[in-house]
Symmetry: C2
Subunit: 458 residues, 2 copies
């Protein structure tokens, strides 16, 4: 029996199991749901044990538990793979906008509707199906690679205990490749692999000029205006080409390679439709880059908010005493959030005119960007595996947002490979979340091929 | 008996009358005080009648009444002078910060403390004393000029009915010179004449870019950011020299003349002390101009307020959908608020990038700047009269703020002359308002000389 046949034969069983799991409202952000998060961990443990994983453990953290499962390879020299996913889900709010009960999953044709269907229970569960399919096809009783699953229980709450867990369990997590199954592909008919995520650092900037607001008749024109100074400071973040003008900002930016650029350009991207969905009348951004490049492979500086002086109704002709802004920077490999913070601090200092005191406070250490090494055998193996499963070429995407993946990769010292089959229209974090069951099956098929391929590379 | 002796002999009587008037809480902004505003008009009418004005009328308006008094010159060919002042006062709030009852005036040495002592009852009342002193010195039974007093009752409420009153009573107000007694001089030992006031126009600017706030990870770098666009727009209001970069903005600006510039530079101005009082750490503004020039004779563009996106606690990494600002422009002769509004509208249109819709809304028609013609005989006569009264040279000042004086001058078709003896530390509009009685007496003396001098010019 080949991999695909096994998977198709077990479709209903897979969906039934997933429905059972989705019925557990494992909302990590809601303390009242914490018993359900624990139930979710137990359900997954039982399911992975039943799938054949010889080691399955519930790992306690300072918060909600993770599930760890391990299945040694038949060949002790085979590489080890660690799969990352999470078993907690977003809150269902606003519940009234759901067409079905978020925790009573419903099949509609090929779709399964319920909170967590795509993010991330469906994508965790296809790993159990995939490894079984590989065993059935090979006739072996152990997978071709040492397979480790680490399924977190607090991802939707910002993974507050994850770094500590990685540190405490570092030895058990040793691996040669880290596979992330928590993202999306371009479209059902355009399979793709995410090959990078932007990092993030964000700050608040305060400019203080006066002890109090001053009458603009008596003082206007002769004292520093911090709102105007803030405007100049924020305007100076970009040059006329939309490039970020903070000195040193691009020092560590890796330009996108020709191969990735070519693959990005092949994505069937309808810019007009994208702008319509964004509610924007025009594209904007760094000259010389496409919209997809701008949101995926180029760093940004965005003013998230600003305020100063009189913001109420009517006129109040003052020189305000202070001005404030919140600014975030999306980062790309190999930018380091801490180096960027230093560059921004230096820029703000240089941009504050005489008589204006500037303060910058960053929200935290920031999130580092990450990217797969496109030339690595693991990425190529994953792309080949997906191509074989989907029967069509597999393109590259990235994500503009941020996650803990860079920290995971660094903690494990292993290259990152994203194998995921969610879609952008799966409505994750929104009412009526769904997943396309055929894509989950393709995910299972892909990783069955991938484990074989990685074993062959060893 | 000479003018000065008469005035000194009548000092106590003058102060007693003023105290009586100050005890009437004629707060035009407070509807509960409106009967008091009427009582104030009646008190003034009686006082002016007693001083000898043959015509005294209470003029009703849509709001609080004005007082009009007229005393024809002994020579029917003599010029007519109209004196403008007001008999309403600011609210006393915060009352708890007054060291004495604001409406129970108290003498402390040369000072008289009470709401309206300087702004403007004291300065109105010295006109009654001055004309009596002139009559006593000349032995005549009518003043050397036809003297008209127009004492408004709603100045502290923005003079909402004043333009209408001027229009309705235009014939009665005919004059050759308009004298304003509602401002200040530099210092008790540095008498000065105000020779101009800045105008004002202010607006709200709105930039709309998106239907909703967008996630800066998913969209950042590829859609217009209206907060950044607003920052560029506001930053572009000034060039690197602090000059306003709105095209056409300076077209109608009259550069200050050499004489006025020289007199301004002679004012004993302590910039460090001024900055300390302003609560500012450094001076700022248009290159090539002193601080006094910047606040008096140069136009400004000040950001009064701005707001966009996330202004609360913590991080919210969005691209905001819109951005807003309030901007005011102080204007100098001969700038026209309506022409400036057009220039600003054109600038905002040109500054809005692709995909960003800009709206500008001005608060109203604005206030026109005004200035005395320094070469006019009336201004020279007033300066000479004050020099004679004070026994020292009289310098020029201006005011950075705005009043209805330009409209008054235009309505009357007469040149403006400011004769006033308030001080900047009189705490007008603030608790513990006071006036220096000796300066009020010098005001009375000045206008006695001035009326004689203007009659001689006829």
């Amino acid at each position: 029996m080949d991999v695909r046949t096994y998977i198709e034969d077990h479709r209903d069983e897979f969906v039934a199991a997933l429905k059972e799991w989705l019925a557990i409202p494992s909302v990590s952000a809601d303390p009242e749901r914490h018993p359900d998060v624990r139930r979710s961990a137990e359900w997954l443990s039982a399911h992975l044990s039943a799938a054949g994983f010889p080691t399955v453990e519930v790992w306690e953290t300072g918060g909600m538990p993770a599930v760890f499962a391990e299945w040694p390879a038949r060949d002790p020299q085979a590489p080890a793979v660690l799969v990352y996913g999470h078993h907690d889900v977003q809150p269902a709010d606003p519940v009234e906008e759901w067409e079905t009960d978020p925790f009573d999953p419903v099949e509609r044709g090929d779709r399964l509707i319920g909170r967590g269907a795509s993010d991330d229970k469906g994508q965790v569960l296809f790993h159990a199906l995939g490894v079984r399919a590989g065993l059935a096809a090979s006739g072996a009783d152990a997978p071709p690679v040492t397979l480790k699953l680490l399924v977190e229980g607090e991802e939707e709450s910002g993974s507050p205990n994850f770094a500590e867990l990685l540190k405490a369990r570092r030895d058990r997590l040793d691996c040669d490749v880290a596979v992330i199954s928590d993202t999306t592909m371009w479209a059902a008919d355009t399979p793709s692999m995410c090959v990078g995520m932007r990092g993030l650092t964000d700050c608040r900037i305060d400019l203080y000029a006066l002890d109090r607001d001053l009458h603009s008749g008596s003082f206007g024109g002769a004292v520093p205006n911090p709102a105007a100074a803030m405007a100049r400071l924020l305007a100076g973040l970009h040059d006329a080409d939309g490039r970020i003008a903070v000195p040193g900002f691009y020092d560590d930016v890796l330009e996108i390679g020709a191969e990735e650029r070519e693959l990005l350009a092949r994505l069937p991207f309808d810019e007009a439709e994208w702008l319509r969905a964004a509610g924007a009348a025009a594209a904007a951004g760094e000259a010389g880059h496409s919209t997809l490049e701008r949101i995926w492979v180029r760093p940004t500086a965005e003013v998230n908010g600003m305020w100063s002086g009189h913001t109420g109704a009517g006129s109040k002709t003052i020189v305000p005493k202070s001005a404030h802004a919140k600014v975030s920077f999306r980062l790309v490999p190999d930018q380091d959030p801490l180096r960027i913070q230093e560059a921004v601090r230096a820029y703000v200092r240089s941009a504050a005119p005489d008589g204006v005191r500037a303060e910058v406070e960053f929200a935290g250490p920031g999130v580092r960007p990450c990217a797969s090494d496109l030339s690595s055998p693991a990425v190529q193996a994953a792309r080949d595996a997906m191509r074989r499963a989907f029967g069509t070429d597999v393109l590259y995407t990235r994500e503009g947002g941020s996650g803990p993946e860079a920290d995971l990769a660094e903690a494990l010292g292993a290259p990152l490979v994203f194998v995921a089959v969610g879609l952008d229209d799966d409505r994750i974090h929104a009412p009526n979340e769904k997943v396309e069951v055929p894509l989950l099956l393709k995910g299972a098929e892909s990783i069955a091929y991938l484990w074989e391929s990685l074993a062959g590379q060893a």
